[in-house]
């Protein structure tokens, strides 16, 4: 266990005018699984690499157990890291790959063997210890990379998009395996991914980044249900949240392109208090908050739109209905039983109690 504090950290690469990471400020709790998520180039891997010591910190401080470690070499930080492309040593066997870090640290041979055997058993690699990485599948290589980190028994695990090279099925398997490993090892982990599903399913806390800036830090539930801005709201969730540029007048929102619905008093109160009445705002509605079931149509009578299905995707348990009302396009995620074919006219109810509103200019959530 190690207490980690990233204290207002900045990163600027030589020759760049702008910072790649700006004012990253976060403290990790014991045994916490933190996921850095965001689109490509948002600075999440750079931040992880600064924690690892593979990149210098331009401004700010990194503390581990209260000690400032900005200048400490990676090997002296008591960390283990799993790389996106595995970064195995092709000339060494699986066992040698896993035990190499211990060998460098002059751990006795019998201890190395014990730790490698234990890790191999956890990861199902016992039969492959004498093979070289070239003779392994992608999933096996990824497990060797994990094994290399496990045997180190480090205080902090850093995982840089470790599953991005695996196929969808294997990714789900490995996701579970990593989550189990975290529970078993009881150690801090920082995991970088661009996949919001990985972030949501694995994290104790998520740090969502964009353009080098932290957008929000919180639990998956907080990020999903209480996004602090439009970017977070749009990034978390698949299909992504529907956004509508609307005008708020009286108790209704409309966009002049076919969408015209009532905002319930509970949501309207905050908007009114903050002076958004008779102003343009961005409204966000998650696809699963748009319903086609009769019970919803009967319940949300003030927010029904007569829409036409343009494309429908049947996903087994649910269906995504890409629809439009007037010229306004949106997607609804409904129960698979309510599957509708393209071209069908369908009544849809917007569950406006769950709608999100954002300032049109800066995208900040209007509470």
């Amino acid at each position: 266990m190690v207490k980690i504090k990233l204290d207002h950290i900045y990163k600027k690469y030589a020759g760049n005018d702008d910072y790649s990471v700006t004012d990253f400020d976060m403290e990790m709790k014991d045994n916490e699984f933190v996921v850095f998520v965001g689109p490509s180039g948002c600075g999440k891997s750079t931040t992880l690499r600064m924690v690892a010591g593979l990149e210098t910190i331009s401004k700010g401080n990194l503390f581990m157990n209260g000690q400032q470690v900005n200048e400490v070499q990676p090997k002296d930080r008591d960390i283990a890291m799993v790389f996106q492309n595995y970064a195995l040593y092709p000339q060494m066997t699986v066992a040698d790959n896993m035990g190499f870090g211990l060998k460098i640290r002059k751990v006795p041979h019998t201890e190395i063997k014990k730790r490698v055997d234990d890790a191999a058993e956890i990861l199902g690699l016992s039969d492959y210890l004498t093979r070289k990485p070239g003779a392994l599948s992608g999933g096996q290589r990824q497990r060797v990379a994990l094994g290399r980190a496990i045997v180190r028994d480090a205080s902090l695990f850093l995982l840089d998009e470790p599953l991005s090279n695996l196929d969808a099925k294997l990714r789900v398997e490995m996701r579970t395996q990593i989550a189990q490993l975290h529970q078993r090892l009881e150690t801090n982990m920082i995991y970088v991914t661009h996949d919001q599903v990985e972030a949501m399913t694995m994290a104790d806390r998520i740090v969502i980044m964009n353009d080098g800036k932290v957008q929000q830090i919180g639990t998956p539930d907080e990020l999903y249900n209480k996004p602090t801005n439009k970017f977070v709201a749009g990034f978390m969730g698949s299909p992504a949240m529907n956004f509508f540029d609307v005008h708020l007048h009286d108790n209704r929102v409309s966009n002049g392109k076919g969408l015209d619905i009532v905002v319930p008093e509970g949501r309207l109160k905050g908007l009114r208090q903050q002076g958004y009445l008779d102003k343009d705002v961005v409204m966000g509605v998650r696809p699963e908050d748009i319903h086609t079931e009769q019970i919803a149509i009967d319940t949300f009578t003030d927010s029904i739109v007569n829409s036409q299905v343009v494309v429908s995707e049947f996903l087994g348990t649910e269906s995504n209905l890409y629809s439009k009302v007037g010229t306004t396009e949106f997607v609804a995620q409904v129960n698979a039983r309510d599957f509708h074919r393209p071209g069908e006219n369908v009544e849809m109810a917007f569950e406006m109690n769950k709608a999100h509103f954002f300032d049109k200019d800066n995208g900040v959530t209007i509470e």
Partner: protein, 276 residues
């Protein structure tokens, strides 16, 4: 269509076989001549099989009256030391230019590229004068030192290291290796195919070098093989084709051995993402 491609294939093979025979014949002739007495060689018989098979030429050149063994050993020493020094310096320089961030790195690289354009002949006289002033003429140092690095090979190694995955080095860093140990324990073993290619070219360069030994070496006992071989054709008794051919055949043996040893590396491609 199939018939046409078959005919084309036959023509292609015929041309290639003819070319191979044309290329191989001089070598086979030299090999055969080394087992013939001088009279038979100069008799004008172009046949390959010796009518009077003899090992006399080999006995003569390896005997005590000949300096051939010394020349051979001189060539081995110069080529081996020169190759080892070259591999070490070229590989490290290539790595530094590809991986290390230091002021002026790009300028040094462009400077190297510019120096590649300078013909070797232009440097002969300046090198001679420098070596003379340093008192290194007529020594192996004069053959090794001016050729201790090779810009072409530095360039080749730089290109290799540019494509070398950085995360393997970073993994080694996290595993506890410093920059130098990462270079020797992780990078060098993975660079074996490139280093082997370099080794062959550098060794052959030293082994076949004639111009520099001719200019810098004056004591016959210090001659390298290329220079020594020439003496067989300069003796007053005429050209000793038998001795010359035997010496030539022996001189190519190290190159053949080197090729056989490193051949595997030429064919081996290493993918650096953990695959082979």
């Amino acid at each position: 269509m199939k018939e046409k491609s078959k005919i084309l294939k036959v023509i292609l093979y015929a041309v290639l076989i003819l070319y191979a025979v044309i290329t191989l014949y001089p070598f086979l002739w030299a090999l055969a001549a080394s087992f013939k007495p001088l009279k038979e060689i100069v008799s004008g018989n172009p046949g390959l099989l010796p009518q009077h098979f003899t090992l006399d030429s080999y006995k003569y050149i390896t005997g005590t009256s000949s300096l051939f063994t010394s020349w051979f050993m001189n060539s081995v020493i110069v080529s081996l030391i020169g190759t080892i020094v070259n591999l070490f310096l070229n590989t490290m320089a290539g790595y530094a230019l590809a991986r290390l961030n230091f002021p002026g790195r790009q300028r040094i690289y462009y400077g190297f590229l510019a120096l590649m354009m300078v013909p070797a002949q232009v440097l002969l006289i300046p090198n001679y004068l420098i070596l003379m002033n340093l008192g290194m003429l007529d020594s192996f140092k004069s053959l090794i030192l001016p050729a201790a690095i090779n810009i072409g090979n530095i360039f080749m190694m730089r290109q290799f290291f540019l494509s070398f995955p950085a995360d393997v080095e970073e993994a080694a860093q996290i595993d506890g290796l410093g920059r130098i140990s990462t270079f020797f324990r992780i990078v060098m073993p993975l660079a074996r195919p490139s280093i082997a290619t370099q080794a062959i070219f550098v060794f052959m360069g030293f082994w076949n070098n004639f111009m520099q030994p001719m200019l810098y070496i004056s004591t016959p006992k210090k001659y390298t093989l290329t220079l020594g071989l020439q003496t067989f054709t300069n003796q007053q008794s005429g050209v000793r084709w038998d001795h010359s051919m035997a010496a030539s055949i022996i001189s190519i043996i190290p190159i053949i051995i080197l090729y056989i040893v490193f051949n595997g590396y030429f064919l081996q491609g290493v993918r650096m993402d953990g695959e082979k």
